[in-house]
């Protein structure tokens, strides 16, 4: 049983060193599919992230989310959510 090479006593006649030689085309196809799939998945994640952010800013107000100067101070999402819930309760009450 072996996956490729079983002797290095004659290195002049050794070529490919990797296991399972002969499946290079399959490896290339799998690799390209993984690459394309990665782009699709990354785009989907980014779209979901922005959709969630937009929904949050709609509820709490973009100006409030901008925080102090929009640069130095980054408000926490939990804080926004709690504030929005409180506002909802007040509004419904």
């Amino acid at each position: 049983m072996g996956t490729g090479i079983d002797s290095f006593t004659d290195p002049q006649n050794v070529g490919a060193l990797y296991p399972f030689p002969g499946i290079e085309v399959v490896l290339a196809v799998v690799g390209i599919l993984l690459w394309l799939g990665w782009h699709v998945h990354q785009t989907r994640i980014e779209n979901q992230e922005y959709a969630r952010a937009i929904e949050l800013y709609r509820r709490v107000g973009t100006a409030r989310a901008l925080g102090k100067d929009g640069t130095e101070w980054l408000p926490s999402e939990e804080e926004f959510a709690a504030e929005a819930e409180a506002k909802d309760r007040t509004g419904s009450g």
């Binding site: 290195p11 050794v14 070529g15 490919a16 060193l17 990797y18 030689p21 290079e24 085309v25 490896l27 290339a28 690799g31 390209i32 690459w35 990665w38 782009h39 990354q42 785009t43 980014e46 992230e49 922005y50 969630r52 952010a53 937009i54 949050l56 800013y57 973009t62 989310a65 901008l66 925080g67 929009g70 640069t71 130095e72 101070w73 980054l74 408000p75 926490s76 999402e77």
Partner: protein, 487 residues
């Protein structure tokens, strides 16, 4: 390998390229550092991810098809001259030579050296688009530039048998056009479609300066890029090759076209062009740190096409001239066309790259471009019948390089924009790319505290200078104090 001389040559060459790859990693440490520094804190983490993740994407795609493109598309004109012989055996992703193999020791390190150039091409585009481009969009654009576009032009004009070299006499030893002009063209195209950051231009079109959040870190990043640039320069050479005539041995380093140069010579020119660029940038920008550092980079890029052959003082002067031109052009284009290039990438890489290619055509007029390929007629030839470097070939070459970046990326950016995938939503841009999914980049940063004594004294001194802006004479100041210029 059968004998010691052959073994030493091959193993030295293998190690040489391996070392260049390690050096070139520093370019990307530098890119990451300075891009993070120039954005506002609300965008730092997304910026880092965008800059970092394009590296593995260009790597895998350069394995899948980039390296094959370089080996396949040297015939011309364009990509219509047929696939070059041997490209598949060397560089197809299923080739046995694209893996550990005792029959070949150069392919992997040569692939990696070119790959690091590819990372650079992609990274150049990144900086200009900061703070508003979608990560997904940049990753697609960066992969196109890094693994497709630049490597097509490298096959055409950065290969001893490339059609631009053989027919036009194109010469671009250290990639002024092949990497920098094409990446500059791609960046300009993406910028046109993407538009400026919110607030960059006022209601009357006036330009506003959105400052880096950390100037010194931006400069450290550029310093790291310079350091990595050494790896870039030497990776553009063949370290040891027998170029003797008629069977006589003469060993030398060569440029990418297999024409003789020396590592010593390019060391002169790298440092002198770097210096010429910095000195000119300091004057023209009136000591602006970011532009002074960037001027060094632009100076090297603006002379790279001919830095295998220039005199160091020629290199220094050309770098200085180029930096003044690209600096003025950057701000003219910004004002006139309302383009918001965050790091000046179009100027530092695109304009400087074009300058480098065009001037090399004049400066090296009549030099041999490469050994001729049988059956190919060059526009201009040397007395030996070799394709000759000339102004027309390099001028058209510069247009090809810039255009090969600009046109495809303009179309891709338009397509991404059509589906709303190019730019982040305005509310997200306003609040910050990091805010909704990441904690603060500086969670314990509380802003300035002015409670120490020095700050109090400074404020008191400033108040005493109200209306005069002159320091009053303070009796009892310890030590000697030089006189203030009262003109």
């Amino acid at each position: 390998m059968q004998n010691q001389v052959e073994s030493l040559t091959v193993l030295f060459t293998e190690f040489y390229y391996w070392v260049t790859v390690v050096f070139m990693f520093l370019i990307h440490v530098g890119f990451a550092t300075y891009e993070i520094a120039v954005v506002r804190p609300k965008n730092m983490q997304r910026t880092l991810m965008k800059t970092f993740v394009v590296i593995p994407l260009v790597t895998v795609t350069f394995f899948f098809f980039g390296w094959w493109i370089y080996n396949a598309f040297s015939n011309g004109p364009g990509i219509t001259g047929g696939i070059a012989e041997g490209a598949g055996e060397t560089a197809a992703p299923w080739s046995e030579l694209m893996a550990p193999n005792l029959e070949d020791r150069i392919n992997g390190v040569f692939w990696a050296a070119f790959l690091l150039f590819s990372w650079t091409a992609a990274a150049i585009v990144s900086g200009a688009l900061l703070e508003r481009v979608r990560t997904a969009a940049f990753l697609i654009i960066g992969t196109m530039v890094g693994s497709v576009l630049w490597i097509i032009d490298a096959a055409w004009g950065w290969h001893p048998e490339g059609w631009m070299v053989q027919v036009m006499g194109y010469h671009d030893a250290y990639a002024s056009g092949v990497i920098h002009a094409i990446a500059g063209g791609a960046t300009l195209a993406a910028l046109i479609v993407l538009g400026p950051r919110i607030g960059k231009f006022g209601p009357k079109g006036e330009v506003r300066d959105i400052k880096p959040h950390n100037v010194w870190l931006a400069c450290v990043g550029l310093f790291l890029i310079f350091t990595g640039f050494w790896g870039f320069y030497v990776a553009c050479n063949i370290p040891m090759l027998d170029i003797g005539p008629n069977g006589e041995s003469y060993f030398s380093a060569t440029n990418i076209y297999l024409m003789p140069t020396t590592l010593s010579g390019i060391t002169f020119n790298f440092l002198m062009s770097f210096s010429g660029g910095i000195l000119a940038a300091y004057l023209v920008s009136r000591g602006n740190p970011f532009w002074t550092f960037s001027g060094g980079l632009a100076g090297v890029i603006a002379t790279s096409a001919g830095n295998d052959l220039y005199h160091p003082i020629q290199s220094m002067i050309l770098a200085a001239i180029a930096v003044v031109i690209i600096y003025k052009l950057h701000f003219y284009v910004e004002r006139k066309f309302k383009l918001d290039d965050v790091v000046g990438a179009v100027a530092v890489h695109g304009y400087a790259g074009v300058f480098g290619v065009v001037t090399a055509g004049f400066m090296l007029w009549g030099y041999p471009a490469a050994e001729p390929v049988d059956g190919v007629s060059a526009w201009f030839t040397t007395p030996d019948g070799w394709p000759a470097i000339n102004p027309l070939g390099n001028f058209l070459g510069a247009i090809i390089m810039f255009g090969l970046g600009f046109v495809p990326i303009f179309l891709i950016a338009k397509l991404l924009n059509r589906f709303g995938l190019l730019r982040v939503p305005r509310a997200v841009e306003l609040v910050g790319l990091d805010v909704h999914d990441h904690a603060s980049a500086y969670p314990y940063f509380q802003g300035r505290t002015d409670g120490d004594g020095i700050a109090d004294e400074e404020r008191a001194l400033a108040q005493s200078m109200e209306g005069t802006a002159r320091a009053p004479v303070v009796p009892g100041t310890p030590g000697a104090v030089a006189r203030e210029d009262r003109r």
